[in-house]
Symmetry: C2
Subunit: 224 residues, 2 copies
DNA sequence: CAAGTATTCAATGGATTACTTGAATTATAG
DNA sequence: CTATAATTCAAGTAATCCATTGAATACTTG
């Protein structure tokens, strides 16, 4: 009996070790940034290296580490290797980690406030209000992420104008409706930049609370 | 503009660093075991040390580490200090980590199979079947965890008989109904031990899939 | 207040692991 | 065969982490 229990105990310990390895793959800021990008859409190593300001070699090695923990998967696409989340559960895990961190670290709260200063200038719209507003045709819903991310999945009814092209496409935006902008998530500044520009030009503007990943996680569908 | 962006970028990096710290608090098998125990019920340092087979000093230090990441909280209770999860979101995080690990590491699957050998001897009951079976009075639902954990929250309708007292309380169990046993979760062996004993004595038995934490996470209530 | 118990602290030693970079290598498309 | 993308390798530095120990602190009970 005690032998059997020891056997069980060893298996149990083995499992904890494996789960700890997954956690330790998450325990690096660069890798979390990579994951955060991959939640938005699959990307090549080169893309990821640029967006995260790392060398390609370094990016590649961090990706290997994530792959080893089965958090991401890779697929060759011509000259490029395209990385993506290995499973939707990974997105959930990342959102949970973030929400635990946000909720509980007072330190984060302060950092977040500093980071969000800008945001509080704008009114916000809750996800559950969106369908109603769209149906009544009272707003223009604007996805200001890079077009690649829009294509890989966006909120139904949204129009894609990446933030850096926005100033050249102002004439496409109805002047009589409020513009509701969104981007990746709570730490994404694209929407704030866009709303800055638009409100300076006289539009009524608001920001969608949260972003695409949270929208999806809340059980709403994305459009492709 | 580029200055502003740098500022933003720094804040963003700071956040990733903080989240990585939470992850690294999770990146140790002993701490995960402690968390797993705390998901069941609050416990004293001494309890935790015994159950995880560590020295008290070592246990205490791991708990400090978890506390620093705001994953657990402590409260003095007479002579003892009682630790508990800092927030229900922590339970969710742990379950997600586990499910990502299980789903994705082939290695875990194998370890799990070895660990579960025993279990496959018994029929299982899915959580959603439970209410019906209980209402029809077709089963006896048995919580075989230590009484402390039962008291801190159990599935409605369950009877508490800790596994090590079971042999002395056989006469309390109706012989004409199937016994459905459950314990902490998928890695807990108490239920298997109990069913071993009972089926040897002629009872019809089955095991509840999963355990208390998963039950609660699935949105069902616990009784106190 | 004194004794006893529970918990934490501080310091050690040692091992281990982690991260980054630049150069060499592999893989693919044209 | 050449150019580009990605991975691997080697190397070095840094950093972290962990278990143990013995002592100190905090608390409760009598």
């Amino acid at each position: 009996m005690s032998l059997a229990m020891n056997g069980k105990r060893q298996h149990k310990e083995h499992l904890y070790i494996l789960f700890a390895q997954v956690a330790s793959a998450l325990a690096n800021p660069h890798r979390l940034e990579l994951l955060d990008l991959l939640v938005q859409s699959p990307r090549t190593v080169d893309d990821l290296a640029q967006e995260s300001h790392m060398t390609v070699a370094n990016t590649s090695q961090h990706l290997q580490r994530l792959k080893q923990a089965n958090l991401v998967a890779d697929a060759r696409d011509g000259l490029y290797v395209r990385y993506q989340l290995a499973d939707p559960a990974v997105a959930r895990l990342w959102l949970d980690l973030r929400s635990v961190g946000e909720k509980q670290l007072a330190e984060v709260e302060r950092a977040l406030d500093a980071y969000r200063d800008h945001r509080h200038e704008f009114a916000t719209v809750a996800p559950e209000e969106l369908p109603i507003l769209l149906q009544r045709d009272e707003i223009t819903l604007l996805d200001v992420r890079p077009r690649l991310e829009y294509q890989s999945g966006h909120i139904p009814g949204a129009v894609s104008i990446p933030v850096d092209e926005l100033e050249f496409h102002l004439d496409e935006i109805p002047r009589d409706k409020t513009v509701v902008a969104y981007c990746r998530g709570p730490y994404c500044v694209y929407a704030d930049q866009a709303l800055d520009l638009l409100s300076g030009q006289g539009w009524k503007v608001a920001r969608l609370e949260e972003g695409v990943a949270e929208w999806q996680q809340a059980g709403y569908d994305l459009e492709k």
